[in-house]
Amino acid sequence: MKKSLVFVSLLSLSGLSLSGFSSQALATELKLELNLPQQTGEYHNPYVAIWLEDSSGKSIRTLALWREGAKWLKDIRRWWRKVGRKDAELVDAITSATHAAGRYQLSFDAVDDNQQPLAAGDYILRIEVVRENGGRSMVKQPFTLTGKSQRFTLAATPETAQSTFIIKE
């Protein structure tokens, strides 16, 4: 991956909106309000991976990775198997620290890992949330890019409170 691309990825994954930095106006924006609930008992910040797969299950873009040391990456099971372990550069490029329970506003351009705009078609948003000494949840939201804005409510799971996913055209 080229350095300039790494830089862009880092920005997008720190939770900042990219709109001010993009050299060109990209048509589609993906906005996620991710809600990590308070948990009872011993609490470690969750490891979180947010990524897009195509309809065949192939990852096309890792949007965010909140993690601790490399030793724990394997515990983000699906993301590690499908994406992380095959692309050390990508992991380095997108890494960000873990966050405590709370409400997070994330915003991403609708592009793939090579910064190419996503074509119209079917995709799956995946959010994998794993806590050490806690549970694991896999949020899966299929969507179709049609050129129209859309809004999805992501039902609560044991590791995520109700969240919102918006496609803004």
């Binding site: 490399a70 030793k71 394997k74 099971r77 699906r78 198997r81 372990r85």
Partner: protein, 271 residues
Amino acid sequence: MKLKPLFIAATSLLLATQASAHNRWLLPSHFNLSNDKGEWIMVDVTASNETFFVDKPMGAERMVITGPDGKRVRAGSLYKGHRKSVVDLQLTQSGTYQLQLAGTPSYFTRYEVKGEEKPKFMRNVNKQQRDARLPKDAINVETLEGYSNVLSFVTLNSPSVSFPLSKQGLELIPVTHPSDIAQGEPVEFKFAFNGEVKAGVNVEIIREGVRYRNDPEALELTSDKNGAIKFTPKQAGRYLLMADYQQDVSDYALADKVGGRVFLTFEAVLD
């Protein structure tokens, strides 16, 4: 292939006796790891019919560890207890390590004595040695040369493909990478005997935890003409795959039948 009824009976008897030998397996503490600084794992080695509950120790010092670069890796310390051996192993390279207990074949002579109901067996006696050892009234004598191949794969970071094959005995050829097995996703393996893919390899696949369920839920498969089996693990967990193959040989000085068994331990990760 058409077989005469007498031959089928003899074969099934021998298979039954082979099946009564203890299963053997290696159980790594971890199958998939992430760490750019390397990791330690530990490996249990045991002969046990209960999947992933240890029973009898096996010689873990014979375990051959092959690193991602195809070179042999030296194990760390080794402990041999009454129920299992344990090996410490440091993984320093990214990629897939093969852990294997294989090596020289063992010989097993079966015979019957007129008037006695049950067949008798002699371990470590080949066809050349057997005449001196058999009683004079022994009938239906048959010697099996059997290879055993106990193995597992462990991956640090990115999986690599280094699956050394000896072309001796029964071997498993991964089509699906053993570190890429996941709940709900199809898996394909092939089997070769002495380097040739074989149909008719009998395979049993069992998930851990049989002690805590009534039905062992064993999956039984037979390899097709390409030597292949295909299956999809419904649940995440650790699995033991056991494969068994035998064939008749003529004009072989040491045995009437040759065969091999494979014991592969793998993990199906949570999807």
